[in-house]
């Protein structure tokens, strides 16, 4: 019995050392009377640990994360009576149905009131539930992608709001939402793997010369009449503007010999809030009559604008939010690139 107790202790000691990276032989040699048994036990343990060096798939990890956040949001707005009911792992459609039910229960006035809510505010969960319901009730891929593009824009605004308040956690959480929405746009189009710009004929890399180019002519608009440095974040600084010049988006061709497509986007009077666009400007695409091309043009415009806004927010963000904001900038850039690059061809 005593001998048995000894080997158990010795095995645990050597196991801890080996798992921390110490050479197996080093520990085994300290106990020559147990050398053979110890070596076998440690080899088996290492083999088991190696077999267990598995990770959840990235797709599952992201899906699970989004489901958890959705559950957290729904719990935050649930009535006390409904809190006792168990959450279960559900497919996406079931979550959407739950969101629809929540919107009905919450009532339209609450939902309307939640539209302008921000992370951390009471109605923010209602806003998310209403958004989920909107997506769930939208049947077509094209319309879903339009909604996701709008939601992505909204999330950027919320990231800036949270960063301004120094709330790194909220920045990170909303960044995850932003990433998920931009991913969904790419998924709706079958993912980036199908994208022509990833093929060797276009250089095979993101951000290559074949990426869409956005030409924004200098804005010949009068200076804002309200100072942008005025304080409260809810205060708006509006300016009278002359109609802005059109923005030209050049979309590279699918085949090397084909001509590039030019889409002209006319942006009427952007509403600005402390330099942050609060509404996605309506766009008019002159040609071609292709909803994907329109969305692509709109998202290219959004991507450029949001990148500039996030960068500006970084400059003035409190130190505790800077790291999270840097990640948000990276996620936004790569997410928009991926989404935009997936928008090729027809729905």
């Amino acid at each position: 019995m005593k001998r048995s107790r000894q080997i158990e202790e010795i095995f645990e000691e050597c196991l801890e050392r080996v798992l921390k990276g110490e050479d197996m032989g080093e520990c085994v040699r300290r106990y020559p009377e147990h050398e053979s048994e110890l070596r076998e036990l440690l080899e088996t343990s290492v083999m088991a640990r190696e077999a267990l060096a598995v990770q959840p798939s990235p797709e599952f990890r992201e899906r699970a994360r989004q489901q958890l956040y959705a559950a957290q949001r729904e719990r935050a707005v649930a009535t006390p009576a409904s809190r006792g009911r168990g959450w279960t792992w559900q497919p996406r459609w079931a979550t959407a149905l739950a969101a629809v039910a929540l919107v009905i229960v919450a009532g339209s006035s609450t939902v309307l009131a939640s539209v302008s809510s921000m992370p951390g505010q009471a109605l923010y969960g209602v806003k998310h539930a209403a958004e989920s319901a909107r997506v769930a009730l939208t049947p077509s891929k094209a319309a879903k992608a339009e909604i996701y593009a709008s939601l992505a824009d909204q999330r950027v605004k919320e990231i800036i709001y949270a960063a301004d308040r120094g709330d790194a956690g909220q920045v990170q959480q909303v960044t995850n939402d932003l990433n998920a929405y931009l991913d969904r746009i790419a998924e709706l189009n079958g993912g980036v793997a199908q994208n022509a710009w990833f093929s060797p004929e276009y250089g095979g890399t993101l951000g290559s010369a074949a990426a869409p180019t956005v030409t924004v002519p200098p804005m010949a608009t009068p200076a804002p009449t309200t100072s942008p440095s005025s304080d409260t974040s809810s205060e708006t600084a509006k300016s009278a503007q002359s109609p802005p010049p059109p923005i030209v988006v050049t979309i590279p061709p699918r085949a090397a010999a084909a001509p590039a497509t030019q889409v002209t986007v006319i942006v009427p009077g952007p509403a600005e809030e402390k330099g942050i666009t609060t509404q996605i400007p309506p766009v008019v695409v002159s040609s071609p009559p292709n909803s994907k091309a329109m969305l692509k043009a709109r998202m290219s415009f959004q991507a450029a604008g949001n990148a500039a806004r996030l960068k500006a927010a970084y400059e003035k963000a409190p130190p505790e939010a800077k790291l999270a904001l840097l990640k948000a900038i990276a996620v936004s850039q790569s997410g928009y690139e991926k989404a935009i690059q997936s928008l090729d061809g027809q729905w």
């Binding site: 158990e8 088991a48 958890l68």
Partner: protein
């Protein structure tokens, strides 16, 4: 792993960010623990998510005194697995011989070939006693210390060391038996 008591208290008070951080810190090891115990990746993924949704539902009733958070979380996972197996009425009955795990364990030339994947390991551990299997799952898949394992299994650390030793010894014998079977084919 040292537990962040402040973070856990925040999560118990309903702080979403705190719970999200606990989720991120424990997600992989709960997944590995479940994967080892049921041997099926897809089922393990579903159960992993269910564990955290159950934890989210129950977190406000968690009391820090007495039970560490990790022990509490792994108990939820354990109960989830028990429910799952009961519903599936799946009881593994034999260790299947897998020819991809070869060789004489004492022969250094064959050591490099001695490989085990998680499904094979899962099947092998089904031949151990329940307590032995639980110790291996918590220690090797969950990454819990001897003390944390002892709290999760409501035993003392000495008993856990004894179980761990017995479990690895039994696992070794099972693998050698399998190796012998492969050699005689």
């Amino acid at each position: 792993m040292q537990e962040d008591e402040g973070l856990i208290r925040e999560a118990v008070r309903g702080d979403r960010q705190a719970f999200a951080r606990l989720y991120e810190a424990n997600f992989d090891r709960i997944f590995r623990y479940i994967y080892l115990k049921i041997g099926d990746r897809e089922e393990a993924e579903d159960l992993t998510q269910q564990v955290f949704l159950n934890a989210l539902r129950s977190i406000t009733s968690f009391k820090y005194q007495g039970t560490p958070f990790t022990a509490w979380l792994f108990r939820i996972a354990h109960n989830q697995i028990v429910d799952y197996l009961r519903k599936k009425t799946r009881r593994p009955t034999s260790l299947e011989i897998d020819e991809t795990v070869p060789s004489n364990a004492d022969d250094p030339e064959h050591q490099a070939e001695l490989r085990l994947n998680i499904e094979e390991l899962s099947r092998a551990t089904q031949r151990l006693t329940k307590a032995q299997r639980e110790v291996l799952s918590l220690r090797f898949a969950g990454g819990l210390s001897i003390e944390e394992t002892a709290r999760a299994m409501r035993k003392n650390p000495g008993a856990i060391k004894a179980l761990q030793h017995a479990a690895v010894l039994a696992l070794r014998k099972l693998l050698v038996v399998r190796d012998e079977a492969v050699k005689t084919d």
